[in-house]
Structures are given as structure tokens and as C-alpha cells.
């Protein structure tokens, strides 16, 4: 289904749609409050943007530096060209360990690579340990948001799910009670798992270490109890030096949730004695995006989700309406690079209002890239009805006479046609809106009479 169709369905439940919009707007407001406490906020954004631009311009160099330094630290570094290779590498490590159950902390990359179904097919139990992730895992749903994966669910929904899966009291919606139940359930899983998988927020080329940011401490819990830690990262998650990290940590949590910092920012540099630490560097289309000049800086993204919280379309259509791993504005500029045809409606799911660009902590020009993807998509689609009408419009607008005649005709016909024809179901404008009251004459006619005698 296309984005407009999905959005129409989402908006049918008016009350829920409004709740979704309001909930995300609260997150946006929290973000606004906290960024105004940082006088140098705009400078920080600029600095982060430049660091990322620089890193992307020498990505090969920094990746090799990371590999060299991480290897020297005792980390086993793997390279995966695509999702399939990424999954195979993990599958092989698990086979070697004879591991049948793993715990995973939130990683959009493993979502992108469809790791869970791959492992489940091999008979391995995968437990997502981030609370939101665990909730949607119970429902067999993908995340609807990259930072708040279960944001589409209400407390009452979660109460129902936990009642069914964890045997909590029916109808008890107390968040403390529900979280406690989740904690007991997850603790058991943590204790059983020999292998823990995490994502990576930042990898530091200079030191060969990487950093994982969570609020729940679930990544740490999993990693410290397991014998083997596998960390998966897209190759763009790189920064050159450890001193660059502060810039991004200050931006990330403030942009994401309005916190001044995420609760746990854990550095992983070398394995504990007797344990193993793996780092998988995944391409999966990223170098292709890097080669597209107009779209390369989408790779600066640090996955804070601020563009989703601010987007008036995302808030009113929900993450699932995009049908892509990463929804919202950033997803709409990343996804067409993966499959132009499948995601062709996404760059049009925007008014180009530019709010996404202005909240972006690394200054990705998201709305401009949406505009540019539109141009690419219409080119790829070739001749279409919309294209024909646009060619016709160009013909009218480049000729003053054609413009004048068609304007007159339009005003005349709109005046004489009955409302039942103007506001028919095929007229998308008229479904929820009236047309303007039509003036007797155009400005041009007025000007000729009053100024240009």
C-alpha cells in the first residue's frame, strides 16, 4: 500500500490518531526545552555536521583505522557487504558457540538486515531486551519509531499484551507494575543467554572502541552476563577521535527525548578475560548512497528520531504507514536509495515544511533531499498522467494567452458548475474543503483598468 492509503486508514481512528500526534508532540516539546538550555546549540549542530561530513569524505581511511585499532584491542572485526553476509557472520559465531538463545539490545541495523527471522529459522530464540522492543516482539510487529519502537501502543494495549504473555493482572495499567513484570521476565532471559548482540551508536577510529547508548542499561546487562558480545554497526556510525564523542552525546539524547544525556553510554574497547568481542561492519547499500552526491549526507544520521517527532505527517500517520525499516522524514530519504519503486510515495509524504531539517542535530537537509528524490522518482517513472498534466501546465504557464484563457475558463466554469460536480468524491480538494469564493475579475484585469490605462 502507498503512504496516502496507509495514512487514510490511520486517521480513521480519530481519537487514537490525535493521541499519537499529541504524544510525539510532547517529545518534541521536551526536546525544545532542553536545547534552549544550551546557548551554543546551533554551533554544536554545525560542528557535528562538519565532523560527519569530514568522516564521510574519508570513510575508507577511518574504517581501516578503526579495524586496525580495534583488532589491536582484541576485538574480532568482520566486514559484511550486505544483510545476508551480516546474518551469516552472526549465524556462524552462534553455531561455533552452540548457542540456542541470545539476548539483543535495540539495533535498527539488525532490523534492517532482518536478523530475527533469520535466527529464528535456525531454531535460535531471540529476545529483544529493550522494553519497547520486547513489547512489539510479543506482537510480532516491527518498530514504529527508531527510538521509541512501541510508541504506537497505549498503556492499556501493553497491559493486555503482558496479561497474555507474562500473566500480569488483567486491566492493571500501572507503568511501575508492568515494568516490574517485564524486568522479572527479562532477567531470566539475560541469565540464560551465552551471546549478547548490540548495536553501535558511535565507533571511534582513533581508539578502536565503540559506544552504545541506552536508557535501560539492557545492553550492559546482556553483554556482561554473556561470554560473547557481537556488536553490529553500519559503516557510517564512525567518528574520528574520542574527543569528538562529546559533541554527539550532547546532541543525541537532547534531540531524541529531551534528556540531557542517555542513562548509559557504555564504551567497549576490549573483551574481558576469557570472553569474546566481535564487531561487524555492515555496508548494505551505504556506499551506494555515499556515491549519490545529492543524498550522501543522509549518512550523517545518528538515529535520534527527532525528525519523526517533529514531522506533522509522521505524527498523523504513524511509523507503519511508511512501510520501511526507518520511517519518517529520514527514512523517506534513505529508503528510495534501497528500492526506488517500492518506496516511491515516501518523498511525497511531506509538505516540504522543513521542520525536520531544522531539528536535525547533524544538519541533514532532509526536506531538500525529499524534493530531490521527487525529481529522481518522476524521471524513473517516465511518462505518467501526472507528468502529462505538468507538461500541459508548463505549456499554459509559458504562454500568457493560454494562461489568461484557461484562468478565465476555470473561474467561469467553477461559478456555473453545480456543487455536486465540484465536490464529487473524485475531487480530493473538495472532500474536506470548500473552494475559494470566486472574484468577478482577475488581478490582471483589474490592473489593466486601474493602472495601465
Amino acid at each position: 500500500m502507498s503512504h496516502p492509503e496507509n495514512a487514510t486508514v490511520f486517521l480513521k481512528d480519530k481519537e487514537r490518531a490525535k493521541w499519537h500526534d499529541d504524544t510525539l508532540w510532547i517529545v518534541r516539546q521536551k526536546r525544545d526545552v532542553t536545547i534552549h538550555q544550551i546557548p551554543e546549540w546551533e554551533k554544536l549542530r554545525e560542528l557535528a555536521s562538519q565532523i560527519k561530513d569530514h568522516t564521510l569524505s574519508k570513510l575508507d581511511f577511518y574504517l581501516e583505522e578503526l579495524e586496525k585499532n580495534a583488532t589491536a584491542n582484541g576485538i574480532k572485526v568482520h566486514w559484511a557487504e550486505n544483510a545476508e553476509e551480516h546474518n551469516k557472520i552472526i549465524g556462524k559465531i552462534l553455531d561455533e558457540k552452540n548457542c540456542k538463545a541470545i539476548v539483543k539490545s535495540k539495533s535498527i541495523l539488525t532490523e534492517e538486515c532482518h536478523l530475527n527471522p533469520f535466527l529464528e529459522e535456525k531454531g535460535i530464540e531471540v529476545v529483544d531486551t529493550d522494553l519497547g522492543e520486547r513489547i512489539i516482539q510479543f506482537l510480532k510487529q516491527p518498530p514504529s519509531h527508531i527510538v521509541m519502537p512501541a510508541i504506537h501502543l497505549k498503556k492499556s494495549d501493553i497491559s493486555d499484551i503482558f496479561h497474555e504473555k507474562l500473566h500480569t493482572e488483567k486491566g492493571n495499567v500501572d507503568p511501575v507494575y508492568l515494568t516490574h513484570a517485564a524486568r522479572l521476565h527479562l532477567r531470566e532471559k539475560f541469565l540464560q543467554a551465552k551471546v549478547a548482540i548490540t548495536g553501535v551508536n558511535f565507533a571511534i577510529a582513533e581508539t578502536g572502541e565503540f559506544v552504545v547508548c541506552t536508557n535501560e542499561g539492557n545492553a550492559d546487562m546482556g553483554v556482561h552476563l554473556a561470554d560473547t558480545h557481537i556488536a553490529c554497526m553500519g559503516i557510517e556510525k564512525l567518528i574520528p577521535r574520542r574527543k569528538d564523542l562529546g559533541v554527539f552525546l550532547r546532541l543525541l539524547a537532547r534531540s531524541a527525548t529531551g534528556q540531557s544525556i542517555t542513562n548509559y553510554n557504555s564504551h567497549f574497547r576490549s573483551p574481558s578475560p576469557g570472553k569474546e568481542l566481535h564487531l561487524i561492519l555492515v555496508n548494505n547499500g551505504r556506499t551506494k548512497q555515499l556515491a549519490r552526491e545529492k543524498f550522501r549526507n543522509s549518512l550523517k544520521c545518528i538515529r535520534c528520531g527527532a525528525c519523526m517527532n517533529t514531522c506533522p505527517i509522521y505524527r498523523r500517520s504513524g511509523g507503519f504507514s511508511y512501510g520501511s525499516t526507518v520511517p519518517g522524514p529520514i527514512g523517506s530519504i534513505l529508503s528510495p536509495g534501497i528500492d526506488l519503486k517500492k518506496y516511491s510515495t515516501l518523498p511525497f509524504a511531506s509538505t516540504l515544511c522543513g521542520s525536520c531539517t531544522d531539528v536535525c542535530p547533524v544538519k541533514i537537509n532532509i526536506h531538500e533531499q525529499l524534493y530531490e528524490w521527487r525529481q529522481e522518482i518522476t524521471k524513473a517513472q517516465g511518462a505518467s498522467l501526472k507528468g502529462l498534466s505538468m507538461k500541459l501546465a508548463n505549456g499554459i504557464f509559458k504562454s500568457p494567452l493560454a494562461y489568461k484563457v484557461s484562468g478565465k475558463l476555470m473561474r467561469a466554469s467553477l461559478k456555473t458548475l453545480p456543487d455536486s460536480i465540484i465536490y464529487n468524491p473524485l475531487n480530493a480538494w473538495g472532500k474536506g474543503r470548500n473552494l475559494p469564493n470566486l472574484p468577478e475579475e482577475s488581478f490582471k484585469d483589474w490592473y489593466k483598468k486601474n493602472r495601465n490605462k
Binding site: L11, W41, P312, T351, S355, M390, P400, G407, K431, S442
Partner: protein, 252 residues
């Protein structure tokens, strides 16, 4: 002569020409009252934005060339629309054979309130307008032309349009809950994403109505056309106006 009495080419976006001649007249009269020499080139049609935003920038070259030829001869080009001005400045396709003229047009085109504050150096307009208004910033004017500070960035607050209205007697400008959220028009978005477009418009109007706003004032008739269409259909008790109509009315 150029410095004191600049010759302005008045650019009236196509839908204002056809649907809102009063806004165009107000713009013209306002500029004249402020001492400008204004000419409306009769051959003008459209800037090409509807085509470009739909993904057909390449097909709008004819329209763009026409625009450049119509307006290159003026010192300044002024329009009562942030959106169309932004399009001409940033999104119209490059026309190689008109390079010099295109550059002139792009660096001398202004949205109306921006022109009055930045070029004419008028601080504010004096007069009386005893009404409770809400200001709807058009996104292209706001985040494209930076006619005002927005709620996303950490920058000193300013608003070129409201600055012009700050000394109007009796005027009350209401603080909105969502200061600068998009109204949902978005060009072809209004029809291709009809459901969200209308919902956004309803929400935007409600933010004003809830605070007892009498008049929603904006700088882009495209936003206003969309919101007016919804307000009329839903019988909302609120008016919509372009700021040019207010300013022209108070100084006459």
C-alpha cells in the same frame, strides 16, 4: 533614482491573480503608499513551483524562462508569497542561456514583509487594528526565507511580518500552542495526501480558535486558501487574511 525610488516588478502568483485579486491590489497599494514605483508585468503567469514540487522541475524550464524574461529588467521583484519567492530563489531550474538575468532575479526577489523591513528599512507601520489575531507562518517563508525565527532552532526571536505590525493600536497577537506547525497545504500534497492535509489544516485552525483568535493572519495565500476551505466547510468562527490587506487598510 534607483536607491530612493526603486523600480519594483510586482510578482503576483497565479492563484492570487485568479482567486485573490484583493490581496494583489493591497500589495500594490501598500508598496505605492510606501513610496515605491511599482509595475506589474502583464505577461507574467506562474513561477513553476507546482510542477517542481511534484517532481517535474525539469519540465518547468519554459515557465522559468518566461519568469526571468518578465522580471529581469526590474531593480527588485516583490511578491506577497514566501513560498513562490523561495521557489524562484532556490528551486527553479537553471536556464543557461539566461544565466546573468536569472542570477539578478534570484538575488533581488523578495517576499513583501522582507522587502519592507530589509530593503525599505521600515521598522513598523503605524495605525490601528483592534483585533485578536493569530499569526500563521508559512513554512517556506519561515524556514526557507527565514522571515522569522522558528521553534526548532535556538536563535534570538524575530519575525519580520509581525515586526511591521507591532505598533498597531489595539492589536493582540495570540501565542499558539504549536507556534509554527505546518497547515498541511503543501501544493499537490493537498490532494495526493488528502486525509493528512485536511487533518493538519483542522488542527492548525483549532489551535487558533481555541485561543479566541478572530483573524488568522498569514503571508501565503496558499496556506490561507487551504485553511479557509476547511474553516468554511466546518463553519469555524474565524476569519483569514493576508497581512498585506491589514497593512494597506491601516495606513490608508
Amino acid at each position: 533614482m534607483k536607491k530612493d525610488v526603486p523600480h519594483i516588478g510586482l510578482f503576483i502568483p497565479c492563484y492570487i491573480d485568479q482567486f485573490y485579486p484583493n490581496v494583489a491590489i493591497a500589495t500594490l497599494e501598500l508598496l505605492e503608499k510606501l513610496g515605491c514605483k511599482v509595475t506589474y508585468p502583464l505577461g507574467q503567469t506562474c513561477c513553476g513551483q507546482p510542477m517542481s514540487n511534484a517532481g517535474f522541475e525539469a519540465d518547468s524550464e519554459g515557465t522559468t524562462s518566461k519568469f526571468i524574461s518578465d522580471f529581469a529588467k526590474f531593480d527588485y521583484i516583490v511578491a506577497p508569497s514566501g513560498s513562490c519567492v523561495l521557489h524562484v530563489k532556490e528551486h527553479s531550474p537553471k536556464v543557461d542561456k539566461l544565466k546573468k538575468n536569472q542570477e539578478h532575479v534570484q538575488s533581488n526577489i523578495y517576499e513583501l514583509s522582507e522587502f519592507i523591513t530589509d530593503v525599505l528599512k521600515v521598522d513598523s507601520i503605524k495605525g490601528s487594528f483592534p483585533h485578536k489575531i493569530g499569526f500563521h507562518a508559512s513554512c517556506h517563508g519561515l524556514r526557507g526565507l527565514r522571515l522569522a525565527s522558528d521553534s526548532e532552532r535556538n536563535e534570538p526571536p524575530f519575525n519580520k511580518t509581525l515586526q511591521l505590525m507591532k505598533d498597531l493600536e489595539g492589536l493582540e497577537v495570540v501565542e499558539l500552542t504549536r507556534k509554527d506547525e505546518c497547515c498541511g497545504f503543501g501544493g499537490t500534497f493537498a490532494v495526493s495526501e488528502e486525509a493528512i492535509s485536511v487533518q493538519m489544516g483542522k488542527d492548525r485552525i483549532a489551535d487558533h480558535v481555541d485561543k479566541g483568535v478572530e483573524i488568522i493572519v498569514g503571508g501565503d495565500m496558499s496556506c490561507i486558501m487551504h485553511m479557509q476551505g476547511i474553516a468554511t466547510r466546518d463553519k469555524d468562527n474565524v476569519q483569514l487574511m493576508h497581512f498585506a490587506e491589514i497593512l494597506n487598510q491601516v495606513i490608508s
